[in-house]
Symmetry: C2
Subunit: 340 residues, 2 copies
DNA sequence: CTGTTAGCGCATTCAT
DNA sequence: ATGAATGCGCTAACAG
């Protein structure tokens, strides 16, 4: 059917192993025969069959990517394409392929991961989230598959390699940015708190309030369950004292909130200031453009694949973790509080 | 190292071929031995090695996905995650894996595709775009790799299986929607016209104007090159007669335009109406929410993988193509023209 | 430097 | 209904 090393070997009057050595550019082969063999390869239109190589080398040069299930917002969230871009840029430098797992539920994703791993389809895995009650990570630990988590693992923090922002710090910075502008009543709106990232940002937020001697009130902390944005906003602004500023855990979420605020007559930044997290095309295109903590998603992806491939090549390596710095990007969704 | 069929065979007192037959659930094996073998498989923790199977079966049960290079907007565009969701949903039903090609340039993507194909890593490919001067599609034709294009191919239309919307029709509907509201001066803002989809939508737009006896003027048609949004908007509204409505080729692009209009003091929909294409989270979260032609991206993905897998299993099949209907979704970015 | 031999894990003849 | 033998295409000792 297609051309194999045997065909090339015969045509070039060498043995198959010589051809194989030419393929891996072994330094034990003379330049002359290399040239000869390569010439024949071209003439015959030879191309290596990776599957055969995988079978004997036990390395697939493929990494698996596991994401949150599609029912969550991860799909709509530009985080995903951007992190993938970072991952693939690095992977392609080192000639690794990418295999994607998705699924409609946590269970189906888990099953796919199991298949990937047991079927020996991948050399390592990047997990694009860190979540409570997740089965994937424990499975990977048990199976001793090299893996890297993007986000801070909920458990086994010291045995797991992860790449993350310092989300506590990020939350703190977001709040302090507002505090420096004179805000004293600041609310927090977060996504699903099952994800570590949300918890961290909230904790940083809280920390900032307390260390600045501001009153911290539970009524100012809201989490989005499903599509209860409206309820949340209503609750926030139906209190005796209402916030003059909001920290919102993602820019996507923020534009939703922005719209609701707009509907009930609050203007940003005139009536209320907003600081969000993540920088996507939304932050600039929103009206007003959003002041945001840039988490440098591309870098998260890039570094995670770097770590993973290092780990694959050196399984016993020290499980260090990488913190990608966050950068606050000042746009138009905030305003100073005029001291009366 | 890991458990193979031989190990299972030995333990179960059968031959390796019997185990293999149990794996493929052959009807030539008695239920009794099947049960026995499966029991041993569980006990030993056996899992099939797909690579070995691929080597002999010549089917990888993997499909490749080729997208536009990341320098374009495809990455930021929620089209991508959504189409992927459709693809993966179907693929996982039929137990296919997904392998992703990406790259920083057309050239690098092309190389990756070549590697995928020659390295026999995939059974078929879905190409997520249709573009002028593209090298990937001709290569796939030449190599006789089963593939499906999302979007209408620029050439070889009859020999290529594709899944697409009727974008001419969609363009027409968008324009007619505005015409029905009384608009007579309607502009069109499109993405890179190298992509067939943009051409088609523009042509449909033009057709609608002409068949409604409206004056069609070139000054009302603008394409975005790079970041010349501002220039385009300025040009459009510095003419003697300015449009009262715009058709914009994607919702992402639309919110950019929306912002510029906002800056120069035009309000949507009061001063100008907008109809866009694609429905993503943006259409609802934008202020105002965008009236848009929903192209049903998920379906595009779902159908494309369905077609591809059919094609893989029956390479000589008739190359039919699938048109996914578009649906106009009426939101808040348009207004009737008050007849004076 | 190069050839020979053996085998990766599985599916598939051809036997029985 | 099951077993034995062969090979998919490649790499990796071991020779020489």
């Amino acid at each position: 059917m297609s051309v194999t090393i045997k065909d090339v070997a015969k045509e070039a009057n060498v043995s198959p192993s010589t051809v194989s050595r030419v393929l891996s550019d072994s330094d034990k082969i003379s330049e002359k025969t290399k040239r000869k063999v390569r010439k024949v390869m071209n003439e015959l239109g030879y191309h290596i069959n990776y599957n055969a190589r995988v079978l004997v080398q036990k390395s697939t040069k493929t990494i698996g990517i596991v994401m949150k299930h599609s029912a969550t917002h991860s799909w709509h969230n530009p985080f995903f394409p951007e992190v993938l871009r970072g991952i693939s840029t690095y992977c392609h430098k080192l000639d690794y392929s990418i295999s994607l797992t998705t699924g409609e539920s946590e269970e189906s994703i888990y099953k796919e991961v199991v298949k990937m791993v047991h079927g020996k389809r991948i050399d390592g895995i990047i997990v694009l989230y860190s979540k409570k009650d997740d089965k994937v990570v424990p499975f990977l630990i048990e199976q001793q598959v090299p893996f890297v988590v993007i986000g801070k693992p909920m458990e086994h923090t010291n045995e797991i390699m992860y790449v993350d922002n310092d989300n506590v710090q990020a939350g703190k910075e977001a709040a302090e940015f507002l505090i420096d502008l004179g805000h004293e009543e600041i609310g927090f709106i977060g996504d699903n708190p099952d994800f570590q990232v949300i918890q961290d940002r909230m904790n940083g937020f809280k920390e900032a309030l307390l260390s600045n001697d501001l009153f911290y009130r539970d009524e100012y902390i809201k989490y989005v369950d499903d599509n209860n944005n409206r309820k949340i906003v209503t609750e926030l602004f139906n209190q005796e004292i209402t916030p003059t500023a909001l920290v919102i855990s993602s820019d996507i979420q923020a534009i939703g909130i922005l719209k609701l605020l707009h509907e009930i007559g609050y203007r940003v930044p005139d009536d209320i200031s907003i600081v969000t997290f993540n920088k996507t095309f939304i932050t600039e295109l929103s009206i007003p453009s959003l002041t945001t903590v840039n988490t440098q998603t591309y870098q998260l992806g890039y570094e995670s694949s770097r770590c993973l491939i290092e780990l694959i090549n050196e399984p016993e390596m020290f499980k260090r973790s990488v913190i990608i710095p966050t950068v606050i990007e000042v746009n138009d969704s905030h305003q100073k509080v005029l001291k009366v």
